[in-house]
Symmetry: C2
Subunit: 149 residues, 2 copies
């Protein structure tokens, strides 16, 4: 019609659709089987793999808003999947730690989640999946550069 612009080739659009599609399918795994939403899953995963963190730490590494974290933490604490203790070094902050049952949940969840990722990648030729991962790494760097501009 007008111009040769194709929305379906437009990088931001493609990223959005892919992320959305992948996210929806993935979250159905931990939502239905483990009753976690996306923020909760991210917090669990970070605490399980990185050790104790404050909400602020999580905000930085998981790119989440602090209000989202605050709410997700309440839920996780209520279910005793994580535990909050005052940070001795900073009276405003709380150290978040995953509990034993949180670890168990994570251990049960992880295989499913990894299997899903592998399903996605296994459908691709290995040269293509390698290209994807390389490209994503490069794009991540590019976004950071633009960000600081």
């Amino acid at each position: 019609m007008m111009d040769a612009f194709k929305l379906e080739d437009f990088l931001p659009f493609r990223l959005n659709v892919l992320a959305q599609e992948v996210s929806t399918r993935l979250s159905s795994i931990y939502a239905t089987r483990f009753n976690l939403d996306i923020p909760q899953w991210r917090i669990i995963a970070n605490l399980a793999t990185r050790g104790d963190l404050t909400a602020q730490d999580i905000a930085r590494v998981a790119f989440m808003h602090k209000s989202t974290i605050s709410r997700a933490v309440s839920g996780l604490e209520r279910r005793k999947l994580i535990q909050r203790t005052a940070d001795p070094a900073d009276g405003r902050a709380y150290k978040l730690r995953i509990t034993a049952s949180g670890k168990t949940l994570f251990k049960n969840l992880l295989p499913d989640v990894l299997a899903f990722e592998q399903d996605l990648l296994k459908q691709m030729k290995s040269s293509e999946s390698a290209a994807l991962l390389r490209g994503l790494t490069s794009l991540e760097a590019s976004v950071l550069k633009i960000k600081s501009t």
Copy 2:
């Protein structure tokens, strides 16, 4: 800590963060300068480049929910950027068409939007950006395959 799982290497997480980051920065272009939100931008772009479409058509090509489209269309029609006419072939449907002022807006917007995409890609080595695009194409196919499973 526990397992070698790294959330920051996990494909769904990476896609999410990237899409989110890119989307936010892009939408600030058309939000502040042209008062469009994401659904509206997508509708304008599709109508500008593909010609007349029904809401249903847009839902399919742009992966949007019909309720989202319905609301976005109202706003665009109110601003006379698009126009709705009853579909002669189907009494339930409406043909959506971009108006002259809609086209003008799109023409003004397009260069900014393309420049943003180019900014992203230009920061990457051309081998890396090629890898990215190839990988995304392959992943798109992979997601579709899993979807039908």
